[in-house]
């Protein structure tokens, strides 16, 4: 019945996916169901190799599921990419080194321009300025720090006003202090640009800090072990880390992760 009505955000139902040649296939996603409402921030956490990136790529239209349904704003993934409704932030910034920061952020506008009609395209300059990159507009990626590059990549994903943002460990290459700044920056921006976000991470505090819900995945085969609500009030600041609620949540997530990892070795 939920399938019948158009579902804003991401809707994943009973998705399975295996890799490998016929006869030696390994199941990577086993009947995964998850929906992310419009304006909801959902993190996906789990041991390495449990299929987080695979799940994200399935939503991004980069991998086709063997079975099950994936919808973005009620459309098939294919239709959603045609309409440029999905913003992707990969694990590395993946900027084009021969383009300036500004031209890198303009890229999504110049690609598939048919889908630009009737949408709230943002001004690349403005968005970069709000990301604190106003002085770097005409610089080249090679001249920026890793954190700045990642912010450019996020700006590139936001600029064409997609309804869904998919981020695969965007901050994993940064040092801890930098990561905190980036998280807060992302939260700040997202607060005023509520998209449905699917955020893959390896960091428990990061997941709690950012999310409305945390999806804990287990491996062999990849499945959703538990979904944990994060009822911390928004907007969140760095003070959240010091609260009891945060510590309780952290304990819960870590406990669930331990259980999931235990299953694996057992």
């Amino acid at each position: 019945m939920e399938t019948a009505q158009p579902h804003a955000g991401v809707y994943i139902e009973d998705v399975s996916k295996s890799f490998g040649p016929e006869g030696a296939r390994t199941l990577v996603l086993n009947h995964v169901s998850l929906s992310i409402k419009m304006g909801e921030f959902v993190s996906v956490i789990g041991p390495s190799g449990c299929g987080k990136s695979t799940l994200l790529k399935t939503v991004a239209g980069l991998i086709e599921a063997d079975s099950g349904t994936v919808k973005v704003d009620g459309m098939t993934v294919k239709a959603a990419t045609k309409n440029k409704m999905i913003g992707l932030v990969p694990q590395s910034p993946a900027l084009l080194p021969w383009r300036t920061v500004l031209d890198n952020v303009r890229l999504p506008m110049t690609v598939n321009p048919k889908a630009n009609a009737n949408r709230n395209l943002r001004d690349p300059r403005e968005i970069l300025e709000s990301f604190g990159l106003g002085a770097a507009l005409d610089k080249y990626p090679g001249q920026l720090s890793g954190g700045m590059q990642q912010r450019v990549a996020i700006a590139r994903a936001f600029v064409f006003d997609p309804s869904v943002l998919l981020m695969d460990e965007p901050f994993s290459a940064l040092d801890e202090m930098n990561r905190d700044a980036q998280r807060l920056g992302l939260l700040d921006f997202w607060q005023s640009n509520r998209k449905a976000v699917m955020f893959v991470t390896h960091s428990v505090p990061e997941a709690i800090m950012l999310s409305d819900r945390i999806v804990v995945m287990g491996a062999h085969p990849g499945h959703i072990a538990e979904i944990i609500d994060v009822p911390l009030p928004r907007p969140r600041t760095i003070d959240v880390y010091a609260t009891d609620e945060f510590r309780d949540l952290e304990g819960r997530v870590r406990e669930t992760l331990r259980e999931v990892m235990g299953q694996k070795s057992a």
């Binding site: 991004a60 999905i86 993946a94 080194p97 690609v111």
Partner: protein, 285 residues
């Protein structure tokens, strides 16, 4: 407290003053030094090699000419050398540019359509393993003693390294950038335009680095086999060698060598302009 502060300020002032006075000179000196250490070893090697050459040439007058004999020949027959060098240069320029263009375009076609690679690559490999020295006379028979066979041989020699390197470059795109393009539903053309074309340039230049010296080899070989019509430095070499005219032989060789050096230097200049964004780590220079 104030004393330390003032003394610190004084020190700062002093250093900045001395810095201002001496730093341009010092940095210029440093630059000169740097240049010296980068140039000197090569220069010394060349000087030693020239000296050894000269000694050997004086001791064996019928084996190699002395450097001054070569130099005298270059001066005396400057017009002839110049005319022949122009012929060879024309062969290299026309042959190499068509080979480069053909290699790059075919690489694009193969990169975009796998089936074309499967269809054409075997033929290309067969042609390429055939020794160019063996093809050249056959081409002369087919196309006569004019420029055409020389263009073809030069183009053929250049074509393969260009094709292989360009193909590798067009394929080696940043997977994650490609993912971003795909989620935007970028067309093949857009992916080529925004990602593959420029992204392939480090490989293309690595290919050029191999191909351009080969172009000179190709032109010279084509001239060897078509030496009946005396044109080009390659035929000059064969004719002079047949007459045991050592100074002319070696003067022509030296000019072929000079052409190679000029081509490689030009390439390095262009490379710097085009590939400033590449750290060069991915592809060997």
């Amino acid at each position: 407290m104030s004393t330390t502060e003032t003394s610190a300020l004084a020190v700062q002032a002093a250093t900045s003053a001395t810095g201002r006075r001496f730093s341009p000179l010092a940095s210029a000196k440093l630059k000169q030094n740097l240049r010296w250490t980068s140039w000197a070893p090569a220069v010394i090697t060349f000087v030693i090699a020239a000296a050894l050459w000269q000694i050997t040439a004086i001791a064996n007058p019928y084996v190699i000419p002395t450097i001054d004999q070569v130099w005298m020949s270059l001066i005396k027959d400057a017009d002839t050398y110049w005319a022949n060098m122009l012929v060879t240069s024309l062969e290299v320029v026309v042959g190499a540019s068509s080979g480069i263009l053909a290699g790059f375009i075919l690489a694009i076609i193969m990169a975009e359509f796998q089936i074309m690679e499967r269809a054409i690559m075997p033929l290309v490999v067969v042609v390429m393993v055939t020794p160019i020295v063996a093809i050249a006379p056959a081409l002369v028979v087919a196309f006569g003693f004019g420029m055409t066979p020389k263009f073809i041989v030069t183009a053929l020699v250049v074509f393969f390294p260009m094709l292989v390197n360009s193909l590798a470059g067009l394929r080696d795109v940043d997977d994650r950038a490609l993912d971003v393009m795909k989620t935007l539903h970028a067309s093949r053309w857009e992916i080529f335009r925004d990602l593959r074309f420029t992204g392939s340039m480090p490989y293309v230049f690595a290919g050029l680095r191999i191909a351009l010296p080969l172009a000179i080899v190709g032109a010279a070989v084509a001239e060897f086999v078509a030496a009946g019509q005396q044109a080009g430095l390659g035929s000059l070499v064969t004719i002079a060698a047949a007459q045991a005219n050592l100074p002319v032989t070696w003067a022509s060789i030296a000019l072929l060598c000079l052409m190679g050096v000029i081509l490689i230097s030009l390439l390095a200049l262009v490379r710097e302009r085009v590939l400033w964004w590449s750290d060069g780590a991915a592809v060997g220079r």
